[in-house]
Amino acid sequence: MTPAQIVVAGGEVVRGIALVTDVPLSFWGGVDPATGTVIDQHHPLRGKLLTDRILILPSGRGSCSASGVLLEEIYKAVHQRRLSPTWLIPSSASVRFSRTSSTACGYQCSCSPRRIAATLHPAIPWPFSRTDN
């Protein structure tokens, strides 16, 4: 268990348990969207639960559907008050997952899951309306 403290854009401080890996992870096919568990049998984090963890990783890999899996997590968090993972931090401290890949989360919702998208892409406000919270 690695305690971590993250200061995000805007100055907010978040504390939690970090999961740290130096191996890129594919969210689609690598994380079970129903449980938040790492299912990639070739990944060092296999079997770990991402729920309520600060995930620190070098980048994504594999599928272009990472954002699809994350959006399902956001949606479930809204409807079932469950969140997984809480924060995603690229260990390069880059705002991008990689030079040539990116994800876009876009669904109108009104509570903390926004933080996932904001953390993936700190420069992106919500796409549906500038005033959505």
Binding site: D40, G62, C64, S67, S98, T100, S102, A123
Partner: protein, 428 residues
């Protein structure tokens, strides 16, 4: 012109019109997504594209369905010819394949939403082997990791890896961020990968390419590699398996092969005359290590499923299998899947090869595949495949151990009901 996005992005009059909602709500939503993501690519402008391939039609849950139906209800129309990726059901045979009706309904609704927005009903992860294939130099907005790697590397079309929802935003606006692999400079190789002491005979083998790709992805992550020393003339299906594997273990969006791929007539041209950031030697031992990592089961294990077609089988690949299985029959305990597009399945039907495959015991599915649709039951028996992508994702998604092997070994194993391997070509 003042910057209407607030993100140092210069828009044309047409793009600004989309952003302020003059072209409807769906286009406005799409342009909002695009203009917020574009700066993260380092873009200061957008670029028009002439086709799109979108991945959002794979059913993951209610959120993706809500997103698609929201855009469709808002009057969304694709602005450029758009091919959808696989969907999560075979539209014709889902009942025979044992899908639950409630799941099938949602999976179908998701596909329908994108068709309602004007996507063509091709539903394949290998759009480059259909009429949707782009040409050299064409600017496109593609999703699906294997298709992106193939389009950039093998065809010389230009796309970044557009993730879910951003790809739809590109299709609805006909625009991408003017950045990354759309630009000349970032298409140059930055990593040199030299093949050392790899037997030439192995380079002619179908199993060589997915293994090389799988190793490559783990070595270079998202950089652009150039492979030197490939003493062979790989066909497109072999390059397809390389690209798919590299985009599985890594996030390779483009890979040059000196003397083979169109932007690498020579090593120097692939590098643009610039020293690579690093050089890596790949030996037969490295390749064998990657090959072993692909298998979580072993020789002699009981086989439950044999799966071909990730990426979707081409007509040539399906014909090869049809010829190999002639006169044989899969063991009663083994399910055989060949996943392909409806276009290829229809051609096989007309040529008489579909009945031959079915006589072997194969289920030839269209529109979908075993990792996006619940076709394979968890049995504890081994999933055997000639695809590095299936072998990698299979154990996680369908919860069966996997064995990667040649097409011939997969067929022999299907008949015997046990894993039978022929690794002779890999011993050096």
């Amino acid at each position: 012109m003042p910057d209407p996005t607030g993100y140092n992005l210069t828009l044309t009059g047409e793009e600004e019109s989309m952003l302020v909602g003059e072209q409807g709500e769906a286009v406005q939503i799409a342009m909002r997504i695009l203009t917020r993501v574009a700066p993260l690519y380092g873009a200061t402008a957008l670029l028009p594209v002439t086709r799109a391939h979108i991945d959002d039609c794979i059913y993951e849950g209610d959120a993706g369905l809500a997103f698609a139906e929201r855009l469709a209800t808002a009057g969304g129309r694709v602005r450029v010819p758009t091919s959808p990726n696989v969907i999560s059901l075979d539209r014709q045979h889902w009942r025979q394949l044992g899908l639950e009706a409630s799941y099938a309904t949602k999976a179908r609704r998701l596909g329908q939403a994108y068709l309602a927005m004007g996507a063509t009903p091709s539903f394949t992860c290998a759009p480059y082997q259909t009429a949707a294939r782009p040409v050299f130099g064409e600017q496109i907005a593609w999703s699906e990791s294997n298709a992106v790697a193939f389009a950039n590397s093998v065809i010389g079309a230009r796309t970044n890896r557009y993730g879910d929802y951003l790809d739809a935003a590109c299709a609805l606006t006909g625009r991408v961020p003017a950045a990354g692999l759309h630009l000349d400079a970032l298409r140059l190789a930055t990593v040199l990968v030299r093949l050392r002491d790899v037997p030439q005979k192995l380079m002619a083998d179908d199993t060589f390419y997915p293994v090389l790709g799988y190793l490559l992805g783990s070595l270079v992550a998202d950089e652009v590699p150039v492979i030197e020393g490939l003493d062979a003339a790989p066909d497109e299906d072999q390059l397809k398996s390389l690209a798919a594997a590299a985009a599985t273990s890594g996030s390779v969006a483009m890979c040059h092969i000196a003397g083979v791929t169109p932007e690498a007539p020579t090593l120097d041209q692939a590098l643009g005359g610039i020293e690579p950031h690093r050089s890596i030697d790949v030996t037969l031992a490295d390749l064998n290590r990657a090959r072993r990592e692909l298998s979580t089961g072993e020789s002699g294990d009981e086989v439950g499923v044999v799966a071909f077609g990730s990426p979707h089988g081409s007509l040539a690949e399906c014909r090869t299998i049809a010829a190999l299985v002639s006169g044989q029959r899969a063991s009663a305990g083994v399910e055989v899947f060949i996943t392909t597009s409806k276009a290829v399945r229809d051609l096989l039907d007309r040529s008489g090869e579909l009945p031959a495959l079915e006589a072997f015991g194969a289920k030839v599915t269209s529109d979908t595949c075993i990792v996006v649709s619940p076709l394979v039951k968890t049995t504890g028996k081994v999933l055997m495949t000639n695809s590095a992508k299936y072998a990698h994702y299979g154990p996680g998604i369908v919860k069966n151990r996997a064995v990667f092997a040649s097409t011939e070994s997969c067929i022999t194993s299907a008949v015997k009901g046990r894993v039978v391997l022929d690794d002779a070509g890999w011993s050096g």
